[in-house]
Assembly symmetry: C2
Homo-oligomer: 410 residues x 2
């Protein structure tokens, strides 16, 4: 691992000085290599899927499986990333009274470690975003996807070689041993940043064991709050979208909070719409009084990210109770209020502690693509460096470049 | 400690919603309280100094000592921070094709822990910058300054009370036991960020033991590189300024690199000017051949932040050798090249890995005040979130505030 770190650092010294045009040409070369190697990748993936069938559940098998359409999507994504503006370079600057010119620039971190689970398309996506932002990357994928990931990384390294760039700009840990993850997390001096992408247990393991700075991503215990003056039709549409449009993802809603003055009219409609879509509804005491046919929620439920067709429901007596409940139960991801009141919207937006706070919109919009970033490496739930959807700019750090004509400090 | 954390979090919920005007009024109230309590603070400080005399060295006693002038400086600094623009609020925004309005805002972190050593003025400075940026703060000062710090915090809390704000916005750990530092570093969920200010050993201890995100500050092994086409008079002025203007600080130069083609003419002049100012010169083999009267440097010397009147000197054969030496020995703080060549300046600025890279100017300008930030909480040598001088904006994090009229994701 130390040797991998050293090689990545060395490769990053070259990569950070490569022009935007050359990086885009590299991404298109990777696309060409992947297109050329379609059969090799599919066959490696087939062996992964075959081996995994006995050990993981069907929904995971679906995430693991590649097909022609998914490889096309990987290629389209490479082309897309190539078309995005280069995130590095000067973005701010000023001149001091003594004549010093201070430029604030974005530069690559250097080496980024990405630790993820079984979707092999993450391999190509992560590598392309790191390369585009000028970073070398060490990839640590799930053990079920090892052959698929290795096949994709072979294509990427062939493209690096074809463009006369160091192949070690992209390295894959080709062992299932968890000890390698631990080693990656200890590569201070070689690795500048670790981004875990995956389940809460993966993210917690990385955070608790890393000596390298980590950006935590993804945990999402999100809330929809229906305020006393909400447009109830709008609230219903937003609730159904946030809960059911794609329940397995981090920006899906897991909780419904309703003001007591509208609970009587709103909850029965919500219950019907949710149950029609197969959602199990778990209620606190007050909500249960209105919806006796629903299940009862435990305190634990309000801390749970179901990632499934289940929702917790709580009736609150005030906006302040809603805010305080959210701040003490959420994962600082995405929260929404449905209201007609500007004052309520402003108070909610100011007081709720989360990366993204919505008024009258679904939490499902917390996404790099939906924000207009063109790409996304993850959604940060930490406060340091990046918060919310992380695009290319979040894969860079600041560097001040200052020029003078002999200035000395007095 | 857990109780302190809980109280700080609670106070931060109020503080984050306080207006800029109210925060400024608070800072001026603190100033008033400190002016009023001058005698009480001086007498507390006198007892600290008396107790410390037997255990710490005279230069540290000077740092610990308060007098009327230093208290005036604390008051002036409070007034200055009050006059700076509020760092929180909307700073960017756009409208998506679906009509969603996305605003990027700066918000307080919540609770910040500041761990520092014996200068009592850091207590007032840190508290004022945290309050101005809307953060509650838990202060952990040096044990030698305990009485002084407690006296200053009493004034701050009196001002908070006078302005009807929670006193727990500012808390001081009033025990010398290091176990309390460990507890502060484990306050995940209550404390959002830790900033250590002080010696390398303090910073390393904090980084290695913290469960809360840390911004490392201050370690500075900085270089002056004299390129083959440098204006030698300018190079000499910059070298002397960077090394001797204030040798004890992190942005002072610790190393001189000279291109071999100018070493013969430059080094004797540099040696004379440095030794005249009491600087001990430690040379690598090539430099020693030119300066036989100088001392010899070990490999260790080139990794050392002396913070003293000592400098390491190395002769290099190329710009690339200078860059590679810097990148493998520096602490990513501040580096400068003296050159007339635009190409050399650009290559140096791109390839050197540091928060601040200078051309033809002293490294001593790496400072919030000198950059025009008006105030500084420290100089980050990490890459995450903040790099280089940290002003008020660096004490905030991003929050997206999004508003719609019922948008759902399809």
């Amino acid at each position: 691992m130390n040797e991998m770190g050293r090689r990545a650092k060395l490769a990053s010294e070259t990569l950070k000085c490569v022009s935007g045009e050359e990086k885009n040409a590299l991404l298109l070369e990777i696309k060409k290599e992947i297109e050329k190697s379609r059969d090799m990748i599919l066959s490696a993936n087939a062996s992964d899927v075959e081996a995994a069938k006995e050990v993981i559940k069907p929904s995971m098998i679906d995430r693991l499986t590649l097909n022609v359409k998914r490889i096309d999507a990987i290629c389209a994504s490479l082309e897309k990333v190539a078309s995005l503006p280069d995130p590095t370079g000067v973005f701010d600057g000023w001149v001091r009274p003594n004549g010093l010119v201070i430029k604030r620039t974005r530069v690559p971190f250097g080496v980024i470690g990405i630790i993820y689970e079984s979707r092999p398309n993450v391999t190509a996506d992560s590598a392309s975003l790191c390369l585009k932002s000028g970073n070398a990357v060490i990839l640590r994928g799930g053990k079920e996807a090892l052959a698929s990931n290795a096949a994709i990384v072979r294509c990427i390294r062939a493209a690096l070689k074809a463009r006369s760039l160091p192949e070690d700009c992209v390295q894959l840990i080709e062992s299932a041993d968890r000890e390698y993850t631990r080693c990656l997390l200890s590569l201070r001096g070689y690795c500048d940043l670790i981004i875990p992408r995956g389940s809460a247990s993966l993210i917690n393991f990385v955070r608790d064991n890393s000596e390298v700075p980590v950006i935590e991503t993804g945990a999402g215990n999100c809330h929809v709050y229906v305020h006393e003056d909400a447009d109830e039709d709008m609230a219903l549409r937003i609730l159904i979208n946030a809960k059911t449009q794609r329940p397995s993802v981090c920006n899906a809603a897991e909780n419904l909070l309703v003001h007591e003055s509208v609970a009587g009219s709103f909850l029965p409609k919500a219950f019907q719409a949710l149950t029609e879509r197969g959602v199990e509804v778990r209620c606190d005491e007050k909500a249960l009084a209105i919806l006796p046919e629903a299940k009862s929620a435990t305190e634990e439920d309000f801390f749970t990210e179901y990632d499934d067709l289940i929702i917790s429901v709580k009736v609150v007596s005030s906006l302040e109770e809603a805010i305080s409940h959210i701040n003490s139960h959420n994962t600082k991801h995405s929260e929404t209020i449905v209201t007609r009141s500007i004052a309520a919207s402003e108070r909610f937006s100011l007081a709720v502690d989360a990366a993204c706070v919505y008024t009258n919109a679904s939490t499902r919009f917390t996404d790099g693509e939906e924000f207009g970033f063109g790409a996304e490496i993850g959604i940060s739930t930490g406060k340091l460096h990046a918060r919310g959807p992380m695009g290319l700019a979040e894969l860079t750090c600041v560097k001040y470049v200052i020029s003078g004509d002999g200035q000395c400090r007095s």
